[in-house]
Symmetry: C2
Subunit: 383 residues, 2 copies
Amino acid sequence: MSSSIPGPIEVTDEVLYANAHPSMAHTSPEFIPVFGDCIRMTRDVLFTKDAQPFIISGSGTLGWDQVAANLVEPNDNVLVLHSGYFGDSFAECLESYGANVTELQASLGHGVSPSQLERALREKQYKMVTLTHVDTSTGVLSDAKALAGVVHDVSPDALVVVDAVCSVASEEIRMDDWGLDVVLTASQKGLGTPPGLSILVASQRALGVFRKRIAPVSSYYVSWKKWLPIMEAYEANRPAYFATPPVNLIYAYNISLKQIVRSPALPLTERFKRHNQASQTVKDALECLGLVQVAQCKEERANGMTAVYFPEGVTAADLLPRMASRGVVIAGGLHKDIKDKYFRIGHMGVTAVDEKRGDIEKIVNSLRDSFADIKAQKNHVKH
Amino acid sequence: MSSSIPGPIEVTDEVLYANAHPSMAHTSPEFIPVFGDCIRMTRDVLFTKDAQPFIISGSGTLGWDQVAANLVEPNDNVLVLHSGYFGDSFAECLESYGANVTELQASLGHGVSPSQLERALREKQYKMVTLTHVDTSTGVLSDAKALAGVVHDVSPDALVVVDAVCSVASEEIRMDDWGLDVVLTASQKGLGTPPGLSILVASQRALGVFRKRIAPVSSYYVSWKKWLPIMEAYEANRPAYFATPPVNLIYAYNISLKQIVRSPALPLTERFKRHNQASQTVKDALECLGLVQVAQCKEERANGMTAVYFPEGVTAADLLPRMASRGVVIAGGLHKDIKDKYFRIGHMGVTAVDEKRGDIEKIVNSLRDSFADIKAQKNHVKH
């Protein structure tokens, strides 16, 4: 059985093995450089020289709280770009911390366009603009580079925050070149590690805004005042304590990062190409089956996952068990407006890049066979 | 090499193996009952019938934020009992969320006494009283039952919150009988699982206070509004989504819980006795070596760890490497007032209960040999 959902994704055996590392003190000389290397390699994944990674025990959702608690002060104006389900939740999180949120909604199946963003920025001053790079509920890929460019042009002081939970390591993200201030993600998607790490990278500009804040940070666990000295210490090969790090997950993340950024056989740019090819194969097969993707435009389709409508008369109860019986676990819908009308397939990490596994072939064949099966059964019932 | 620090502790092979479980969807029919069982068995560890467990991706520290964000409203009076380092931090966390904190300090090496608590409660009204059951920095065990009794007698409306990070499953805690409202802990100590789970159990009375709060919860990730439906769904064998749970850690926790509460060969009450015996063996050996414990009174000494002063002229640099060369990792000091003057030994979980491992014997022998070694070297230098 293989997990072809948009996370937790399949991970390599080496990563699983590292996750079973015998107990190790978080302050031990063996563990400290492992954590330090994770911090350094996380920068490499995002092509950044000096941004600051925070690697903290928590779900991806915790990244939103990190942004809201550290970079937002009560009544700050924040513009949240919606391309699916996750914009709503990020907005709710920001409001919990006192932000004054304006939501800029794309129509279902699209991302917010640069011109739409430009209009919004000309109407009001914002301290921060957030966007979902790949919305896991719709499979819509937003053009982070172009959107960040618009923010820099029109509202140069505004911070650009990218929710990249479903895109880091499966989509190219050039943090420094594109001028992104925060990129936040989690371990269980493109980064190929079991779930349990909130991974956030903040630009020096974002840290500057944090340092100049007037209102105290209204949280304890996610306060960068606590975490910055810890990250700096581990990177400088010294132990430090604020909260016990998830030692095993960090061993696992370390191995996965090495496979992602230090593999001579598969450089990072090649990894993105492989994701694109795998994605294309899945999407072509779905098109052949006559299915329509939730993401309407080709250039707005994620490379690590696909969200696609059921054909008329077919439901999740028809498809998901048939796929599972063929050894492929896929996911149902998540976006509240169309929850029962579509399904989702993940093709990130090893599933996309390790051709020997044959995961993509298996996904495609299982889709064909399952739909043939459904069709035969429906015809049988009709007659 | 074995980890004899007060967490992350050594875990069983079965637990490590479960932590390497292949990727599994958090919504899959295989995983849902595993999570549901974790919720049920967590209750069993604390002898509670109807309190509500929250099992969330995060470090133990996150439990403080759960308490502060959900049960405290701005300007609520909270009394924090100190028996070491962790009271200070809990107080800081509560203040971050707007609490008006009064600290009740025990002298170093002691817990707050019931009469000291009674005086404080007669002076002022508090919404909540917090205590550290075992302070990991001093090894002081507070009498949670007696202290909770005083709160119920003098200030019956006040919630009793127990930071039990370093005591759950190594010290007896009877949540219902003692009337505790919150017991919070983490996975990597007595619960014998790798670090990365914040585990908190709230009484129905605490949930009632939460439901009646007026100020909105000023956090997102730790909001019980989000988590309560998730915990209820998994316990009822239905999937639900707020944030991706740390699937592998939950598989590991499930196995460890089974070993703790469903082992006919070692019932929970027997587990506590074994911790007491192991602790006694270590403490007796230290006494034989002429060493003085940080926790001054016998009845205030934790059963899962020991904090002990170095003899005159000996430092961590003398002892810790000598212990490590004998395969035993112990920890240095943590309490700021005496940081360099003492060391700490953990003896929780398998180390305490699985005699076949010989961990306790190894700790004791290594201590004897290391101190003999240090003495010989110091004498050599003297002559």
